[in-house]
Symmetry: C2
DNA sequence: CATGCATGTTAATTGCATTAACATTCACGG
DNA sequence: CCGTGAATGTTAATGCAATTAACATGCATG
């Protein structure tokens, strides 16, 4: 199949995705050009359009990859902590913050897909990770017999905290108020207090 | 001065900012072109460059405007609630969420300025609003004699919650897990539990 | 071997951003 | 009142990146 030196590339679609990821990692943002990606993959500027309807489609594909990576990171973090423990929940938050901070452009990617048809697809990609998180939160609730609290809602709230901190940190906004702010530490105490509050409402 | 029908515009700089805001409000995103803004302001495509170094500079100017509006909204919200009350703190969060939700492109604007020299300027614009919020949080702490907690840190955490919820809501991500999610309600219970937790640590 | 589909290529086309070179006013000093 | 320079507009490049059109190649299959 993958004839390395021929007219046809063999696996251009994936090569383009990989090129895109590389460009994104290097520049820290998702503003590479289609042409750059094509060049990096060793093809002409028009070739990508045989595999992606437009630039956005390529970005979507990259985003999918990131979502999958996130799901894996979440899963392995979940496996590493005792089910239902507070540590487990907090570690998942940290995992999320770390994942985003290491991929500053990931958030951009998601955002820029916001108002489109990718909506449906995104759900599918992201669910594995998020559902796993909901599961972990559910375990936490169950272990404390908090029967009247909805794990999904709790998970969304915790996710929002982690997300907000990540984004503001990546932006530099956090640091402009708390120099050298430690997003992870903030998340620990933030989510910690939140969980305390939830438990107290028992 | 503002000769309406002459070669010179009179106040192009502001006209461009207003045009940009209009375009942003209409499209819901900050991806208008310099040419569009110029056309809307009734000048040639090159004219804007007499007032803004480049597209980014215009976006910065718009962002400044939004930051000022936010500061005003925060201030008037703060004035409307009893100082130090929990309602006051929550209302400020709601105010933030509402402000962002009504300006979906605002967040983009901020984000896209992230890695630049605008850093310093941004602080100045945003501080009035945020510092006011810190003040409100400080009042809340004081009223409860929580002397060992840092209002600034608390404020950052609450801000992150509001920000995270806003962003995920605007993205449609919240709704993909909780159909028709009510960001304001989520913030109330989220921040509420958090404050409970903080108080409990007394 | 003939042929069609998938996949590449090169050569437009188009839409901006941005700059250069030129034009028009305005404000001000003489 | 006139000359002049600074500020601000204009039109005409330039250059880049997205996307499409028209053409080329090769693989796979009958």
């Amino acid at each position: 199949m993958s004839n390395c030196n021929s007219y046809h590339h063999g696996d251009l679609r994936n090569a383009l995705i990989i090129a895109a990821v590389k460009l994104i990692q290097e520049s820290g943002s998702s503003d590479f050009s289609m042409s750059e990606a094509a060049k990096l993959a060793g093809v002409s500027a028009a070739a990508p359009y045989r595999h992606f309807a437009d630039r956005k489609a390529l970005l979507s594909a990259v985003a999918e990859l990131y979502f999958i990576g996130l799901a894996e990171a979440v899963q392995s973090t979940r496996d590493a902590y005792p089910s239902g423990s507070r540590e487990s929940v907090l570690a998942l938050g940290h995992c999320y913050v770390r994942y985003l901070s290491e991929r500053p452009a990931f958030y951009n990617l998601i955002w820029n897909q916001g108002g489109e048809a990718s909506q449906g697809r995104r759900d599918v990609e992201q669910r594995p990770g998020f559902l796993s998180f909901v599961g972990a939160v559910g375990d936490w609730c169950r272990q404390r017999e908090l029967n009247d609290c909805d794990p999904l809602e709790l998970a969304v709230k915790l996710w929002s905290m982690a997300h907000g901190l990540s984004v503001l940190k990546m932006n530099g906004q956090l640091d402009s108020y708390i120099p050298d702010a430690d997003a992870q530490a903030l998340l620990s105490s933030s989510a910690g207090a939140f969980l305390d509050g939830v438990e107290a409402t028992r």
